[in-house]
Amino acid sequence: MADEDVLVRVKKIVVDRLGVDEADVKLEASFKEDLDADSLDIVELVMELEDEFNLEISDEDAEKIQTVGDVVSYIENHKS
């Protein structure tokens, strides 16, 4: 079960950044397929997540991020 707080904060950033409906930001939603994000959007998203959660996401890890759930589990596994 995803951490509610992390999910809420991630959702807010995704909604702000991509201009999508909050209802569409589900754990299984793919940034590229479902949320219409291009690769530059994802780079920006990663930067904002780094700021919000005060962590550094390596380029290698960032490339693996495909869905909202990927982001949430990454943050849960790496937050200090």
């Binding site: 530059l40 780079v43 920006e44 930067m47």
Partner: protein
Amino acid sequence: MGLQNKVALVTGASRGIGHAIAIKLAKQGASIIVNYSGNKVRAEETASEIRSVGAEAFVWQCDISDESAVQEMIKQSIDHFGHLDIVVNNAGITRDGLLMRMKETDWDAVLNTNLKGVFLVTKAALRPMMRQKQGRIVNVASVVGILGNPGQANYVAAKAGVIGLTKATAREVASRGITVNAVAPGFIVTEMTDQLPEDVKSKMQSEIPLGKLGTPEDVAGVVLFLASDESKYMTGQTLSVDGGMAMQ
């Protein structure tokens, strides 16, 4: 073309064209990060000149072909000034020689500084610029990157590469309010061009329609234009500042 409250990083700012660019931007009110590689004394002199026109200067030594050093420079710059608005990728070196005699180390040295260095500085600077949703990147290419030049295969390849890199970067970040343009200086009086062989110099000079060599200030004026809001509807362009050598 006021640059009040803007922060500009100028690589290779201790001497030549970079020095003139740093002073030109400072005179418009920009705070300047004076990057240099080897000449600390000259870099400090540039900083003193910047301060004497009432602008702020922050001197930072860094080999731009070293990614971690470049990232540290950008981090320190942001820590110092709080933001980064303009990057002028000016630093460059020459290792001239005929291609058939050119050492691999001379090829690598020039490509590493003149092309990879631009990539690394741009990559690091784009992070804060994307956050700010604005930025100006100005790359210093060269007329020889357009026309070619015997004895400078490495330099020509790097500078032609910079022109291509300028276009690719411009397309990638245009949607984020960041413009990326280049200047292509012609034959400019600097310590670097002083080193060219006499026959190359006289031949180049005879090919300048305006009939004389350019000055670092001639280049700096166009860089200022590309760094300012006056050029906000331009991106991916290379402006020749060469007395008419390469007309498009």
